[in-house]
């Protein structure tokens, strides 16, 4: 039987191929019950395989909660059924894609998902309804075009985002693209980013005044700056830390007004270490770095980071990436050409007014392909890839507003590009306007969704698009963003009109509502957050949007008053009055439509809300190391079975080294998984101290490792290797036991200290 693994073996980078094989083995081990649920959940999350609504096998169908009778009762995480479909999040660093990658994305959506590619607010692509067994092949096909899904979810560094027009922008200091790329790959899989209590988001912006990079809402944000140092212009970044949305939004705090480009990677590494060491691990609601900074203060945080920076072992990559930065360039496929003749097509002009941006490079423009709800079909994706090939080459970016930007389009080609986009249903005007509504997945697929953000977004999009031309320009330019719950994935805090899902009890029934957040600032990198006012029933939100926008138009103080300023001046009290006009819910008997959500006729219920996986499972690095050791041990067994004794011997030894390395790194995190480094450290820290000793067997299990390490004259016979396999298993067990003892000891010490205090 042909397999993708075999077919693509020469096209995948070896490291990615190996990682995916490892994941496939982990899937196999999980099926055999050899990995526990929590650990496997975090493992798959770190490979981008996320849970989806109803994956606990329960669904409220509008009448009652019913069981979904999947073929097996196997699980892929706590309360998560193996057979339940999940979501695959595909990280696209800085949103940069090429045509070949777009083609593959289209194929994957068609074959494993539902033929829809969904662009997210973090420049990712998400595919829904994916079976976990399909994920290794899906990842291989991505790897073959240079995309990894590693660490797309879970408690790690999420997709590194950047302005989609960076490099062609008229306002930027310089192109942040190569920096964001370097940061993404430096932090990807870095040992210092593996032990976070929560996710960590990084963004780059080319300037301070515009919105694009949204550094203010990030755990770590970089704004490009130039500075004269000794008469020479130097590149660097204004660096911010501790921003974040979620239930409790925090604005990022300035860390340093100028970090030279040579320092951004080591500082990010130092921050990662401090976060891993001091960040909250138990209470996930307070585990983001913003809470740590809030607790200890920015000055103390800065001090800790700089102290950590001082002791970091040197890494060539900190500055090595600068060669790539200098070499970075994008190649247009067409010569620059301005559009000099008029185009007598009103629709083209409407589109041109909102979806085109003139690049700083004369004769070129960017084209924003506005995607309703961030969705496009597989067919559209392929056609768009062709349009890109023809007009702009591989210069395509996803945006945090869930659109796609084609860069380096010759201005003279715009009429032709418009026609081709129109032909494939992608010439929707109004990018970044009131009907280009942004929405998170909400109750459609998210386990935490409370109200149907996509249902509401679809409804608003449809209604507002038809009336767009009649709106005053002040209204046309407003932004609407919707989240299905307070977690803010729809970035509602930054919108002129933001909404997030909540529920209310009325007459003993539950009614979907949206809480209203008004006057957020998109500009200035998401400069300030909106004012939270009351909640309106889901079904009244469109009417509320009409009312508040009409009021703004009628009562603003001159044309200069922005919506944001109007909301500030208008104040909560007045806003409440407007809100109250819409807040009443008629009894069910009078109007049952209030009791179901947009585009979901089931009687509304919140019983489907599950435990979110956004937070991932808090699994420490040692757990992964021990799991890795188990996997290697398993592979060694297979190699032994296949008669490949030398390989089995080496793999088994590596399994012991990895397990020992995991323990060593509890005390010294800089030790790599190399036998020559691990074994002496292990001897010193765990054997000589007796920490590894078993109550009955003493240091016997550790000696298995030492004996194999010192045996330079190995014989690779079936029996000898079988013996080593048995020793390896005992050694890994002893490592687990040692880890458990250390955890219990630490907890007993904590308790004793608390008692004493």
């Amino acid at each position: 039987m042909t397999t993708w693994k075999e077919t693509l073996k020469d096209e995948m980078p070896a490291e990615l191929a190996q990682e995916i094989d490892t994941f496939e083995t982990q899937i196999g081990l999980k099926k055999q019950g050899k990995i526990d649920d929590k650990l496997f959940a975090e493992t798959r999350l770190r490979r981008g395989a996320y849970g989806q609504r109803y994956d606990n096998g329960q669904r409220h169908d509008g009448v009652e909660t019913r069981e979904l009778h999947y073929p097996t009762a196997a699980t892929k995480g706590p309360d998560t059924l193996w057979d339940a479909p999940g979501m695959m999040r595909i990280k696209i660093p800085f949103g940069g894609m090429n045509a070949e990658q777009m083609d593959v994305m289209a194929d994957l959506a068609e074959e494993y998902s539902d033929a829809i590619c969904h662009v997210t607010t973090r420049q990712d692509i998400q595919l829904h309804y994916i079976h976990i067994d399909d994920t290794p092949d899906l990842q291989r096909r991505l790897a073959a075009v240079g995309i990894t899904t590693r660490e797309a979810c879970g408690n790690g560094v999420r997709n590194v985002t950047a302005c989609p027009i960076s490099g062609v922008c008229n306002d930027e200091s310089f192109d942040v693209t190569p920096y964001s790329k370097a940061m993404a790959f430096f932090l990807l899989g870095h040992p210092d980013t593996q032990d976070f209590g929560r996710k960590f988001k990084v963004a780059f912006s080319g300037c301070k005044g515009k919105a694009c990079g949204l550094t203010n809402i990030h755990d770590l944000g970089f704004i490009a700056r130039k500075k004269m140092v000794d008469g020479e212009e130097k590149r660097g970044f204004e660096m911010y830390v501790g921003g974040g949305l979620g239930a409790v939004p925090y604005e990022a705090k300035p860390f340093d007004e100028f970090v030279p480009e040579t320092e951004i990677l080591p500082l990010a590494q130092a921050i990662s270490r401090v976060f891993a060491r001091l960040g909250e691990k138990r209470n996930r609601g307070r585990a983001r770095i913003k809470f740590l900074i809030d607790k200890i203060g920015i000055d103390e945080f800065r001090r800790l980071v700089l102290a950590e920076r001082e002791i970091l072992p040197h890494d060539e990559r900190w500055t090595g990436y600068l060669d790539d930065v200098r070499a970075w360039e994008e190649t247009p496929v067409k010569e620059p050409a301005e559009l000099t003749t008029g185009v007598s097509d009103a629709q083209f002009e409407t589109w041109r007014a909102t979806n085109i941006y003139r690049q700083k490079q004369k004769g070129y423009t960017t084209v924003t392909v506005a995607l309703p709800l961030g969705d496009l079909t597989s067919w559209q994706m392929r056609q768009l890839a062709d349009i890109a090939r023809k007009y702009c080459g591989d210069n395509v970016r996803l945006t945090v507003e869930q659109n796609i930007v084609l860069r380096w389009v010759a201005e003279a080609d715009l009429p032709a590009v418009y026609r081709e986009l129109e032909h494939v249903g992608l010439a929707q005007p109004g990018a970044g306007t009131i009907f280009d509504v942004v929405s998170c997945p909400g109750t459609d697929t998210c386990k935490l969704g409370i109200s149907s953000s996509r249902g509401l977004a679809g409804e608003l999009h449809e209604r507002l698009a038809t009336r767009y031309q009649q709106f005053d320009s002040a209204i046309q330019g407003l932004r609407i963003k919707i989240s299905g719950c307070f977690n803010s994935c729809g970035q509602h805090h930054l919108a002129d009109l933001g909404f997030y899902g909540v529920s209310r009890k009325v007459g003993g029934r539950t009614v979907p509502h949206f809480r209203v957040v008004l006057g957020g600032q998109w500009e200035n990198n998401g400069g300030s957050y909106g004012l939270t006012v009351g909640a309106v029933p889901s079904k009244r939100v469109p009417d509320f949007v009409d009312r508040i926008t009409e009021k703004y138009l009628a009562e603003r103080e001159g044309e200069q008053e922005s919506f944001q300023a109007f909301i500030q001046r208008f104040g909560k009290r007045e806003l409440k009055k407007v809100l109250d006009e819409f807040s009443a819910v008629p009894p069910y008997e009078m109007d049952p439509s209030y009791y179901s959500d947009w585009r979901d006729p089931r009687e509304y219920s919140i019983t489907d809300i599950g435990v979110g996986e956004c937070a991932g499972e808090v699994v420490s690095r040692i757990d992964f190391d021990l799991q890795n050791a188990e996997r290697l041990y398993f592979e060694a067994q297979l190699q032994h079975e296949e008669g490949n004794y030398q390989k089995a011997d080496e793999t088994a030894f590596q399994a012991m080294v990895v397990a020992a390395g995991g323990l060593v790194r509890l005390e010294n995190q800089d030790v790599p998984d190399e036998a020559d480094k691990v074994v002496p450290e292990f001897r010193k820290r765990f054997y000589d101290t007796g920490l590894f000793h078993d109550k009955y067997a003493g240091g016997k299990f550790a000696e298995y490792l030492f004996n194999r390490y010192e045996d330079t004259n190995r014989e690779y016979t079936a029996d000898k290797v079988r013996l080593l396999l048995e020793e390896t298993q005992l050694f890994i067990e002893a490592a687990h036991a040692c880890n458990t003892r250390l955890i219990e000891q630490a907890s007993a010490e904590r308790k004793a200290k608390l008692d004493k205090d």
Binding site: T3, T7, Y70, I116, Y129, H131, T377, Q380, R382
Partner: protein, 195 residues
Amino acid sequence: MITDLHRIGIKFLTARGDDIPLTDFIPIFHAWIQEGKLEDVMIDVAEYSHVPAGPGTMLIAHEGNYAIDETGNRRGFVYYSKQEVSGDNLADRLAVVCRKNLAACKLLEAEDTFKDRLAFDFGRIEIFFNDRLNGPNSDETWQAFEPVLKSFMARLYPNTDFEARYETGDPRERFSVSVSLQDDAASAEDLLARL
């Protein structure tokens, strides 16, 4: 190898009902889930009326996806499998997929909401493979599939001539064959009886 294919899809084009808003199918599919109307493990409804020529309104099941679909700007009812399908050979598996689709079409045509407004033309069929590894969009796949199609059609429409059209077109697109009958098409019920 097409013998390894399991990700198979069948679409029956509409005879009428292209003007029914896609959103009108949402409550129907939810009701089917409530009432357990289909044999698959039905999970949820996904709605894509906002994308043109897209998968329309879908009923997502564990075994595969059902949809009132507008791919290619041709409305029809589609079912495609996403899991292993029972059957010793491809023709048998095709029959399983077809049976599931017909069962859904029959239900849909009988829905009061769509009375006299919706009908499928079971003589206009599209068969596709959602598997570029085992069934790429190529002449070789067509050559291998043609006899399978004949044996499947002999079961679905015995002694009836049909025309099968395969065009590679864009090789990136999934492999797809259009089948049309020379004679009048049968009803879903009759076809189900033959499978």
